[in-house]
Amino acid sequence: MDRVVTGQVKGVLARFDDPGSLHKAAVKIREAGFSKFDCHSPFPIHGMDAAMGLKRSPLGWIVGLAAIVGTTSALALQWWTSSVDYPLVISGKPFFSFQAYVPVTFALGVLLSAFAALIAMLALNGLPRLFHPVFYSRQFEKVTDDAFFVSIEAEDPLFEVDKTRAFLEAIGGKNVEVLQKS
């Protein structure tokens, strides 16, 4: 990774007053053709995915896969230990009595799915990532309190510092700030 140079522009940040104006800004930014931007808020805002033009998260498929792996491996474990590796007759039940194996199969399916849900969510979000250019901004600390921000990253093909700044100001952004190491 490149060394961060003081003064190198990483993006532009603008503040908006409320969820409504953030929502409207997201629509305008998407219509202007930006792709590497994000709308930051203290809580999820209803309808924001559509406004930003985001696709549905693939997380459900990942967790579904984990559930299948969890249940099949649990069943395989119980079958192999009780019928192949060390078969024991317990109360005259068959070696592979699947009815008795349901609770453990279910539990391990849930267990693996729960891990998958959290880990895949973090992975899809690129977390843990303790530092990000938006944290160069002092005002960004309020994003987890009551402030709403838009950030456009310098990597966006349409990004040009002055033009992007002016654009964000034009669509109602306040305290527009260039993200760079000071």
Binding site: D18, P19, G20, D38, C39, H40, S41, P42, F43, P44, I45, H46, G47, M48, D49, M52, L54, R56, S57, L59, G60, V63, A67, L77, Q78, T81, S82, D85, Y86, L88, I90, A100, Y101, P103, V104, F106, A107, L108, V110, L111, S113, F115, A117, L118, M121, L122, L124, N125, L127, P128, R129, L130, H132, F140, E141, K142, V143, T144, D145, D146
Partner: protein
Amino acid sequence: MSTTTREITGLPEGEAPLLGGHQTFTGITAKISGIIERRTPPVWYLAFGAALSLFLVLVGSIGYLLYEGTGIWGLNNPVGWGWAIINFVWWVGIGHAGTLISAILFLLRQRWRTSINRFAEAMTLFAISCALIFPAIHVGRMWVVYWVFPIPNQMSMWPNFRSPLLWDVFAVSTYFTASLLFWYTGLIPDLATLRDRASKKIKKIIFGIFAVGWRGGNRQWKHYELAYLILAGISTPLVLSVHSVVSTDFAVSIIPGWHTTIFPPYFVAGAIFSGFAMVITLTVIARKIFGIEDLITVDHLEKMNKVILLTGSMVGYAYGMEFFIAWYSGNIYEQFAFLNRAFGPYAWAYWIMVSCNVAVPQLFWFRKLRTSIPVMFVASILINIGMWFERFVIVVTSLSRDFLPSAWDYYSPTIWDISTFVGSFGLFFTLFLLFIRFLPMISMAEVKTVLPQADPHHHAAARAVEGNRHG
């Protein structure tokens, strides 16, 4: 556009607002973070000292148990399951309310849950921690307790997957882990709030690490919200499955009074019943001490009391149905087991159970009583006493009068049974006090979403409503 503020905030007509007072986003942040940021109140130290002392009682009791063996308990032949199993079932049951609130009420879009879910989930985790201790120490040789897991060993033996006791190991440990992951997922945005507000560097680093660099971008919220929904979805069957599996510990055996098919639903209803009672006990104290009556309102408490009334009535129905089935079965041994419960040597325990679990919740038919803080506080404690006695009645009455009258014996606990149980409260309250001191006890990010101004169309709609009113 013919939307009303009611529709936008997701509240049915005629329903009171979810939060009291005039709330703002930053007001909520300040209120909840403020509790952990201000100086530790002296009363916290007092409470923590008391809880820690009780916890030491638990450590001492377990230490002596390891040294001497389960003979220090009141167990005898035929009563091989005493207080340890009763306490296990009781604590696991208490945990169920947290999962019901966090998972089932989330899927049912009961938005009032946002004020109490963090609190209830924490209670779940700590209750399961207490519960897990008891079967672990009850095995006697605690140092080989890992034999319950399928770990390859020098004896090349495997656990018996056809035993309900082993199902329990998997059900309860999965329950704990899934609840922990769910709880942590919910905490991430709030940990980021604490990170951003922290004034000391060390706090910023610690909260920063646990907040994993959360920056509240909608690209993150998109995955986050789905992860939360999925975790709620997979925790929902756990509410029903965990206590059902616990009940099979009894129902799969052939002891009269245990071998009944009503056990799984009856245990689940009882679990939710006692769990909600515990949530009431704890929230009534916490909202008063921390001045969060506007966030956890009497309306929240009333809704929980309605759940208590419902589940309490289900438990009462199950008590009646057990007697009916015993009579209807025509089996004299089954009939004896139940007559012995109500009129035998443990009749005192049975009638404590009936009065606390069946009679007490009936108070909540009256609105005045279910919105009265003193009434619900006392009732919630009585209910948990009743639910403890329910497990006592199930475990002890059936075992102490087993198959041959020559084998019968009366069971009573020793000081060590009592000290271990009392000590488990020490563990519970130690963990709980640490939680309310260092972590936000109400989910800030979630509570903000139920404010009317959180909706992006709020202003337009509010104006439309105003217009209609004047027009």
